[in-house]
Symmetry: none
Subunit: 227 residues, 2 copies
């Protein structure tokens, strides 16, 4: 897990036309200050600033390696939250986020919160949502088994199922159709395109299908704020 993130970050920095900017990008993604990074590396803070400013056009790989390892070490020292988030081969659950709402939430409220675009206007949104599950749909498809279905539905099927990594949006609807339990609402996060069949399947099942262009983090934040 750590090795894959490590390779990804190093590869990106190495291949970047502006490695300084890439280094900064990742440092910020890891929520690390220049001060903290410089201290960890045992160098002067101005060194970090110079690198990120692009003062050096072709940093050596030893330098890059030290920086990447610092990112990971510091993250691990503070719980490894970011590492987990960016894990590429999370053979873990395909569930990105899941939560039971403390109170019932109206479907309309949820759709507004995620700046959702209703793809099935003919279906009413007068539903009460008890929780949500954010699923990496690509991962779910390759690893899903009937046990996972129960996990996805958590304590209630009266939930919003949110699918990330959606290309045409057909497979999630296929999966939903095949399962006896039906969610209250389905959300596609930044789909490349929503296939007509997906919409038709949603209509056949009487499940509102919503699309949103929010980034995952914003989406989850919004959902969590609902209760």
């Amino acid at each position: 897990m750590r090795d894959q993130v490590r390779e990804k970050v190093a590869g990106e920095i190495c291949l970047s036309d502006e490695p300084g900017k890439t280094i900064r990008k990742w440092r910020e993604q890891f929520h690390i200050s220049q001060q903290e990074l410089s201290k960890h590396l045992g160098v002067s803070p101005s060194v970090i600033s110079d690198y990120e400013a692009g003062r050096r056009k072709s940093p050596g790989i030893v330098t890059v390696r030290k920086i990447v390892d610092a990112f990971l070490d510091i993250d691990e020292k503070t719980g490894g939250q970011i590492l987990k988030q960016y894990s590429l081969a999370a053979k873990t659950d395909s569930i990105i986020s899941i939560k039971e709402f403390a109170k019932e939430v109206l479907a309309t409220e949820l759709v507004d919160m995620i700046e959702g675009d209703n793809l099935t206007p003919a279906i009413g949104l007068d539903k009460h949502i008890h929780g949500y599950t954010v699923i990496d749909s690509i991962r779910a498809i390759t690893s899903l088994n009937s046990f996972d279905y129960l996990k996805i539905y958590g304590w209630s099927s009266q939930r919003a199922l949110v699918f990330t990594g959606v290309k045409f949006g057909r497979s999630p609807m296929i999966a939903i159709r095949a399962h006896p339990l039906k969610p209250a609402i389905v959300v596609y996060q930044k789909p490349e395109q929503v296939d007509e069949l997906a919409i038709r399947l949603a209509e056949l099942e009487g499940i509102p299908l919503i699309r949103t262009e929010l980034p995952v983090s914003d989406l989850i934040e919004g959902l969590q704020s609902l209760g």
Copy 2:
């Protein structure tokens, strides 16, 4: 596709304690001589030799980038064979083999040919098969779109759909169920296990579901021999 291999190779070289050896490893994987590489980069051959020998402990990222891009460029110039091999997201066709039979073939005959085990004995095999399609089901699931469906069915839906890479056998049946066109027969090649739901879906659709343990090559050979 190319970007993923690119990042992988660059990341590896960058993170290696002995970058020289890693460079050599990949150069050899790409079947490129030092001569060829040096020529492509427009440097003296001794430069490549020095790098691979580890003369430079911390090559700059611009140098690494140039080398990696040279590997990929040279490979592409000679057909991209290696690139394809190492492609992490082969966006290629999911159809392994497809053919229209020169004559109608009885379903029973086909099942015998592939040493098939009938999972849906309640459904009659008195069907005529016009052709077959062998599909890598894992690849099909992630890349399938409605146009691919037409390709899968070829000139006739009166065909045998053969799925390889099947785990529980549910997804192919899900896909078949979702599509208006129905095949004459479905074959799972060496599935890990056939889920009860898959069998039930097949019965619901009235489509015979067959399993076979033949290797892909033998399977295709047998199918081709049918006409």
